[in-house]
Amino acid sequence: MNTTLCLALLFNGIVLGLIWSVIAIGFSLVLGVGQTINFAHGLLFTFGAYFFFSISRNTSFWIAVIAAPILVAIMSLFLEVVLVRRVYGQDPLFGLLITFGFAIAMEEVIRMVWGKAAYSVSTPIFARGQLILGNFVYSRFRILLALFALTILLLVLWFMSKTSFGAIVKAGMFNSEMISALGHNLPLLRTLVFVMGGLLAGLAGVIGAPLWSIKSGMGTDVLMPGFIIALIGGLGSIKGTIIGGLLVGITTSLAVLVIPRFTDIIPYVMLIAVLFYKPKGLYGEVTILGEVRE
């Protein structure tokens, strides 16, 4: 077997894993704190990509990088205040259905505004070209996007482990009622986490837009892998989500060598394997379904 190809695929898996982790991390946080399965997360990702596409076309690449996630965060605030807030504390199925319905409706809005055609974003001039090391060839832009994704992940990790807000969020994942009892504003905490999830979805959209063609259903394409990575890592666990993302990225990439036609099923197989041995995921300490049963 070609060693260079194996190394290239391994490297590609790490890059993909980092990008997948950014997609999954916002999903995981909302699931952990709000105990809401936010099926509109894919939609927020899609809006991030479309906002990035439109803004970068009309202004500049860097303005789009900043503005697109902020706009998505504002959208997610609206979503939380108008819809999601009503289903906190109820069966997670309600949250799933209400966000799923919202996502379907808004996908139609995307088709009305941007049409059904696919779009692509130009690679910025500074990132064009390939990294070439002997037979190893890799997209320079993809490496930069992976570094961007890594920076986001490290910032979230730092924020959650080193700030008092992060500590409250983490505590909220384990026992949200205790947070209220200690005098913290639980509804506000949930709103902030939801908006943070939206911001991360928007950032993921900014990363995804230049990589994959932009189209109305792109959120659906990332929703299930994002959900699976969140479950593999454990609900609300930042470290678990990153490791879950890397595992999925690397195995999917390497699987092309062995079973290229069936790479799609790799994340599902991994999920079954992980949940069989660790029902709460790799680093999870809570399961929303477990709480419902109790």
């Binding site: 055609a117 390939q130 990589l211």
Partner: protein, 400 residues
Amino acid sequence: MKNKLLFFSLTLIALVVFSLVVTAQEPVKIGIVSPKSGNYADHGEMERIGMYLAVEDFGGKVLGRPIELIEVDSETNPDIASRRTKTLIEAQDVKFFLGAVSSSVGIAVGSVCHELGSIYICTNANSDTITGVDANKHTFRVPPNMAILVRGAAKYVAENLGKKWYFVTHDYSWGWSGTEWGRKMLDKVGAVEVGEVKIPMNTRDMSSYLLQLVNSGADVACVTVGGFDGIALYNQMGEFGIFDKMKVWWTLADYPDSYAIPPEQRGRYGMMEIYWKATPELIEFSKRIHDKYPGAIANVTETNSYHGWLGMKALLTAIEKAGTTDVDSVIKSLEGLIICDNKQPDPTYIRPWDHQFIDTMFFGHDIPGAEGDDITEVLFTAPCKDFARTMTENPIDLTK
């Protein structure tokens, strides 16, 4: 007694006249089974635009009766498409169908129409089997099949682009057809295969497949991947610098997809089913599409729109020619039909024995960095009849 007889006669005449008037007003229903979602949603939208324009050309009527178009979303899914087709036939007595885009959907819809006795004109699917092993007397196909497209280009590719071919195959019937014909041409044009990768439908990230391609040592990537997946692949090929390492030959280049790619990342070669500047009529048709549908993908005649238009035009022409909506009569009328005002350099001819439409195709190259509408250079044109399968190669005869 005489008065009674007169009364009954007049009543009978009135009823006959009334029923004739009612029949004359009764719309001719045409089902459009076309994707509004899934991998080919954008292509579906464009083919429907073409169909509506053809109906407009006929003044909205055929045989003096209004035309009623009934759209259903195939969702680019054969099961859903065949179920919805069946419902239209059984619940609304629809006798004529157009649409598809995906070959799997085309095969499924064709099979249902054959079983229930309706005519189906497959407007945008290229798998060989539709007019081959899956052919039936009720199904007609507008675009050239993969045998025509691949055989039309293979010699040029081997002589001018390279002889070591790596196949990139969309993992369903259409993709398999493209690669199968590429393989059949290897010996004939002196090329060799250096590998293949099959890409599942709805794959967005192609990086792992592209790394295999980069390391294959190929001169030419022989690609049969379409829809949003095709656009993603094309875009990521530019990102990975594939066009600097080898030539890329798209066995079927839906050239409007090229407009979705940033100019600096373009560079593929490919066989196109039509070319928007081939005739003044096509340029005019482009303007018409754009005036009517400003949201259309590009300011050019799009392949799917053209085939939607041509399929509908053929059906309505055949109904007029038959003078009836009787299915068997319309089939006879379609078989051997020649459409001269087809906006192409040569007339379109429908072969009676396999129901394949035959006209002209164009081999071109996307010019890297070109801006605006004029982004493709046509290198040669080829008459489909010279490359279509003969009856010996495709032993069916639907006229029997």
